[in-house]
């Protein structure tokens, strides 16, 4: 009677057995990897907008302050997007006929809002508040990256819970002096005397409480 298994069968069986043992772990690892990969978090993904607004031009080149448009960033949870009338303060005077700005003019003329696509998305069960982060010395660039270098807006950080907690557990290294908070080009490297503990004391931050569930979820 002929052999049922060829000489290589043992090897195959071993590989299959090994693969079966590894598969669950590999599956979980793959799922986790996918979950935190830029593919899933949409990190660095440029989102189409009705108007290709350039932060590089307005912030980097012209030097307009963040708060000129994002007016409620120091007051409310929502930093707010500018009403069309804010755009028109300048664009009723300059670039009045630019084709790119047609949606803004239409919005203003017909009183229909511009619908911007959200770039930085936080899950609905997270009650993120811009104002408290600004008050506690977190500069815009910590979460939004070098906005002044972005012709089109993108999300530069993963915005996962892990990423939030990294800072909530150890906020010190991410803080900036008061006068540099709205400077998009500021990085901790510019501050040779950057002392995390001094910042935490100055801004009255209690890192032990920052990981309470109720800080973000309710």
């Amino acid at each position: 009677m002929a052999q049922l298994f060829r000489p290589g069968a043992d090897t195959i069986a071993r590989v299959v057995l090994f693969a079966l043992a590894i598969a669950p772990f590999a599956g979980v690892a793959l799922a986790y990897g996918l979950r935190v990969s830029p593919y899933s978090t949409e990190q660095n993904l440029v989102v189409d907008q009705p108007v290709p607004f350039s932060h590089k031009h307005h912030v980097g080149d012209l030097g307009i302050d963040c708060r000129y448009c994002h007016t409620s960033v120091e007051k409310a949870a929502f930093a707010s997007l500018p009403p069309s009338s804010t755009c028109m303060t300048c664009h009723s005077q300059i670039w009045t006929n630019a084709a790119l700005l047609a949606p803004v003019r239409d919005s203003f003329a017909h009183h229909t809002p511009i619908r911007w696509n959200k770039v930085h998305r936080v899950a609905d069960y997270v009650y993120f508040d811009h104002s408290i982060h600004v008050a506690k010395g977190v500069p815009c660039s910590t979460c939004h990256g070098p906005v002044h270098e972005m012709p089109l807006m993108r999300q530069t950080k993963p915005m996962t819970m892990q990423w939030c907690l990294d800072c909530h557990r150890n906020p010190g290294p991410n803080l900036a002096p008061r006068d540099k908070e709205f400077d998009p080009s500021w990085t901790p490297a510019q501050d040779p005397l950057h002392d995390a503990r001094a910042y935490i004391a100055r801004y009255h931050i209690h890192p032990a409480h920052l990981t309470d569930c109720t800080v973000c979820h309710r």
């Binding site: 409620s72 619908r115 696509n117 609905d124 069960y125 209690h206």
Partner: protein, 960 residues
């Protein structure tokens, strides 16, 4: 699967039969289909929806997106206003709170005011003009109406009838007066089902004119309520509740309350002495007490117990002359009201009298009866019904629905398509109070402006705009109409006056000047008719009022005090009568009076007067909308043409069994009621050692021994102390919590399965003895235990503690094992068995418009998630962030929970246990302090002060 609906759950219609879980199995094909559908969904549904940000084109001045704005305005109940603060976020009103400056709000609310916010977004609201069942328009209505009125002008308006509810708003009165100038022969009828006809008639008997007499409960030291319910529902509930609480403070003078009533009212439940008597016996008791005060009455045949009660009470009233008060209820005859006035003047009672604000001189019943007579004789050519719903709430004996069809032309201006709309040719939608300008006056005449927080959601007009339309001015806007009213009174500076009135919430010194009370005449006592063997006593529903809130799901699901019934209520019958008639709990009976009858379940109720049945008005609506239609029974239709709220009925068995669903059966705490809700007599309070109610020793615990109280004094340790002595059981906190925390409504079937969702419930214990039952109210939110039994059993740590002592529930982590619910000794955890909030909402509650009501600071919980009271963590968080931004500590009274803000008696106090200024730590040292089930060692942060009772020694010894 063609022709077969593929639904996971049975459609949730309302079934008449007892609710059961639908017996439903999957067949093989369905199971395979679902399996493959599930796999396909898992593989394909990874994409997140693309969200958009839609900024304003021009941002309104003063608005910061996401920050709440508060506007002072007023809401009316039965025509009278209570000041409120309406809170809007991004232009959406989301919550009602009290207005501290308003004398009839005092910063608190009642359940009806809280629930108005749901009515605003109710998808069943009237939204367009209809002619019959055909959609029409305001222009068409205006054309038809004005051509009609033009013809009537020739005959001075004879045949033109306007029917309204009670109107005391200065603007609406001004417009109606102007209308009467234009049509001198028009008839203005006015009808409220919960009216004060007997009180007016009583005042006429005593003083010669219908003065309004307002009690000052805060100054009364001895109060006798003759079937009166000052603490019950109505526009005066808040101010009366506050007066009750103020006069019953340990340490100061402590008022003693007596109540004689047929069925349980909130007043009776909170009184020190309560006697169950039929309305006729209450009248006899009143005459007996008056006799003791010197009236030539007496010789009444009172039961022994009642005579002893009356003697002790009369002695107490006389002993407190100057601070003693007698109040008569609306089901008592005008004689008894007049007698109460006479006793009050004898006792120099703390009352104030006002000329009536209601300028319609007729009594309510006389007015509606005149309308019915006019309709039947064909004298009504054009009938305008403004807001009222007489086809439902006027006595059926008047035959109004049919009579109204006889009017040549009829228009119903209404907020809902209801019974009266069906009897009118046209119906036109009215705006909600938060959608238009206006003004309102409180019971004492204090005026406030009503300001809109939102543009009308639909094509609606305010009441004042509708009256202007009748006067031919269709273009008038409520803003201009209201300003015009106040032009004269503003003294030249209308803009300044207007701004001040809007920011203050009241118009300064607008209260009606008190009239010196003329001496009360002793009425001629009519010979009392022999009392019927069974009297049915009707009172306004504590959650639906006269039925006008039947379409409000929050109120339908708001448990009635004491019985905890929701979605309808049974007739209360005394145990003795039940035995005599062979009735058991939830048996159905047919109640008949003068040929009209109602079939309803009975509830055998200890403490109900023998010979008296009690039921609520406001049920059994036939055309209320998807929520309110067919819930409960319409007992009001048994009333005769006189509209009396106490009427003779006969009772017979009817087929059927089963009462209204009730809450508490499934949430009952285990233990002795007197221990769970202890009561202390005022006399023994002084001699108490420090903490008699606290457990002797805490049992051992596996949890860390150190208290979770913050070690760093800068950190708050949140706690709540509820004073059971002043909780009157009014339910304002329950509805307030529901509005603030996006608590869903589950519907009667789910309630019957024990699945209510209220985060805060008011338990009612019977702490009396079998022949003298006495309810004790106990609001139960989450105890926020320091050693929380729910925490160690959660496999995913969805239930965990934070540094400020909050026992947090993290919805996005919860996997729905319900272990925490089983392990909670207080039974405060609620599970979303279905997607109650949206996709599987009851009736029309998943509608798009209702999403706008949701508080954006609180998660809308999904199916399969556990939830519970959070101590309004969103409010704590907001206060903490504000304090940190301003680099200061949170103020002692900065965080106010929703339940606390609504409480009319300020029974609920919340604050930081580490901050002496908050006063919370001091309350915990009170001798009355106790922890609910404290012996379990859970170390609750929510604790209680025991009920206090001030019994009359003369009665205590005799009674027990």
């Amino acid at each position: 699967m063609s022709g077969k609906r593929f639904t996971l759950f049975e459609a949730k219609g309302r079934s008449a039969s007892a609710p059961e879980l639908p017996p439903r199995g999957l067949d093989r094909r369905e199971a395979l289909a679902m399996l493959s559908a599930g796999m396909a969904t898992a593989l394909s549904a990874c994409g997140k929806p693309r969200e958009q940000i839609v900024p304003y084109v021009e941002q309104p001045e003063g608005l910061t997106p996401g920050l709440p704005q508060r506007y002072a305005t007023a809401l009316t109940l039965g025509g009278y206003g209570r000041g409120v603060m309406a809170i809007a976020v991004d232009g959406r009103p989301i919550k009602i709170e009290g207005s501290p400056n308003h004398p009839y709000s005092l910063g608190s609310t009642d359940a009806f005011a809280e629930a108005e916010i749901l009515s605003l977004y109710d998808p069943a609201r009237a939204q367009a003009v209809f002619k019959g069942e055909e959609p029409s328009s305001w222009t068409a209505l205006q054309t038809a109406l004005l051509s009609r009125l033009e013809r009537l002008k020739g005959r001075q308006g004879a045949g033109f009838t306007l029917l309204t509810g009670r109107i005391v708003s200065p603007t609406e009165l001004r417009l109606i007066a102007a209308l009467k100038m234009a049509y001198p022969a028009m008839a203005w009828r006015r009808y409220e089902p919960v009216n004060d006809d007997n009180a007016r008639a009583g005042a006429r008997l005593a003083f010669g004119r219908p003065l309004t007499v307002l009690p000052k409960l805060g100054q009364a030291q001895a109060v006798l309520c003759l079937d009166a319910d000052p603490l019950g529902s109505g526009p005066e509930q808040i101010v009366n509740g506050r007066g009750f609480a103020e006069a019953r403070k340990a340490g100061g003078g402590f008022a003693r309350w007596y109540a004689a009533e047929p069925g349980w009212s909130l007043t009776g439940a909170n009184a020190d002495h309560r006697l169950a008597l039929t309305p006729a016996q209450v009248g006899a008791l009143a005459r007996h007490v008056a006799g003791k005060l010197g009236a030539p009455t007496g010789g009444e045949t009172l039961p022994v117990q009642a005579a002893r009660f009356a003697d002790a009470c009369a002695a107490d009233l006389i002993a407190h002359t100057g601070h003693a008060l007698v109040l008569a209820g609306e089901s008592q005859s005008p004689d008894i009201h007049a007698l109460a006035h006479w006793m009050n003047s004898r006792l120099q009672a703390p009352v104030s009298a006002l000329e009536p604000l209601d300028l319609n001189p007729d009594d309510h019943l006389a007015s509606i009866a005149a309308l019915a007579a006019d309709l039947k004789t064909g004298r009504v050519d054009t009938l305008i019904v403004l807001g009222a719903n007489p086809a439902y709430d006027a006595p059926l004996a008047l035959g109004l629905p049919d009579a109204m069809r006889k009017a040549g032309f009829s228009v119903h201006f209404t907020a809902y398509d209801n019974e009266t709309s069906a009897a009118c040719q046209w119906r036109a939608p009215l705006s909600h109070a938060l959608e238009g300008w206006g003004d309102a006056r409180a019971l004492d005449g204090t005026a406030s402006l009503v300001q809109p927080l939102i543009r009308p959601l639909y094509g609606t007009k305010t009441v004042s705009e509708c009256v202007a339309l009748l006067a031919g001015d269709a273009a008038a806007a409520s803003h201009d109409i209201t300003r015009q009213t106040w032009t004269d009174k503003a003294g030249g500076d209308l803009d300044g006056f207007w701004k001040r009135a809007l920011t203050d919430g009241v118009i300064a010194s607008s209260a009606q000047a008190a009239t010196p009370l003329p001496p009360a005449r002793l009425p001629q006592m009519a010979q009392a008719a022999p009392p019927p063997s069974l009297t049915l006593c009707l009172s306004p529903d504590p959650s639906l009022y006269d039925g006008r809130y039947a379409e409000n799901a929050w109120l339908q699901e708001c448990p009635k005090p004491i019985t905890s019934e929701v979605w309808g209520a049974a007739v209360a019958i005394s145990p003795e009568d039940a035995v005599r008639l062979g009735l058991k709990d939830a048996d159905h009976v047919r109640l008949s009076a003068e040929g009209r009858s109602v079939i309803a379940p009975v509830r055998v109720t200890p403490g109900q007067a023998q010979g008296a049945l009690s039921a609520f008005l406001g049920g059994g609506r036939t055309r209320a909308g998807p929520i309110g239609t067919g819930v409960g029974q319409d007992f009001g239709k048994l009333r005769g043409v006189g509209g009396s709220r106490a009427l003779a009925v006969t009772v017979e068995h009817a087929p059927g069994h089963g009462g209204a669903p009730a809450f508490q059966s499934t949430r009952l705490l285990e233990g002795d009621a007197r221990k769970l809700s202890p009561t202390i007599d005022l006399a023994t309070l002084a001699g108490l050692k420090s903490h008699p109610l606290d457990p002797v020793k805490t049992p051992p615990s596996m949890l860390p021994a150190a208290p979770v109280l913050a070690t760093d004094a800068r950190e708050p340790a949140w706690g709540m102390v509820i004073d059971a002595a002043v909780c009157i059981g009014c339910n304002a906190c329950v509805v307030s919590c529901q509005a603030e925390n996006n608590v869903p409504v589950v519907g009667p079937e789910e309630i019957a399965r024990g699945r209510d969702m209220h985060w805060l419930r008011i338990d009612a214990y019977d702490v009396g003895d079998p022949h003298d039952p006495r309810p004790a109210f106990q609001p139960v939110p989450c105890m926020q235990c320091e050693h929380a039994p729910c925490e160690p059993v959660c496999p995913v740590e969805a239930s965990s503690h934070d540094h400020e002592g909050l026992n947090a529930q993290v919805y996005n982590r919860c996997i729905g094992t319900r272990f925490c619910e089983s392990n909670c000794p207080y039974k405060v955890r609620r599970f979303n068995f279905y997607g109650y909030a949206e996709e599987q909402a009851y009736a029309n509650l998943g509608a798009e418009s209702l999403k706008a009501q949701k508080n954006p600071e609180v998660t809308v919980r999904d199916r399969g998630v556990m939830e519970k009271c959070t101590y309004c963590v969103q409010r704590i968080s907001a206060a903490r962030k504000l304090a940190e931004k301003e680099d200061r500590e949170i103020g002692p009274h900065e965080v106010v929970t929703a339940c606390q803000s609504s409480c009319p008696t300020q029974a609920i106090r919340f604050g930081d246990l580490n901050d002496p200024a908050s006063g919370l730590a001091g309350l915990r040292e009170d001798p009355r302090h106790y922890a609910l089930l404290g012996e379990l060692g859970t170390r609750p942060r929510t604790t209680y002060l025991a009920r206090l009772r001030n019994p009359n020694p003369a009665l205590s010894e005799a009674g027990e």
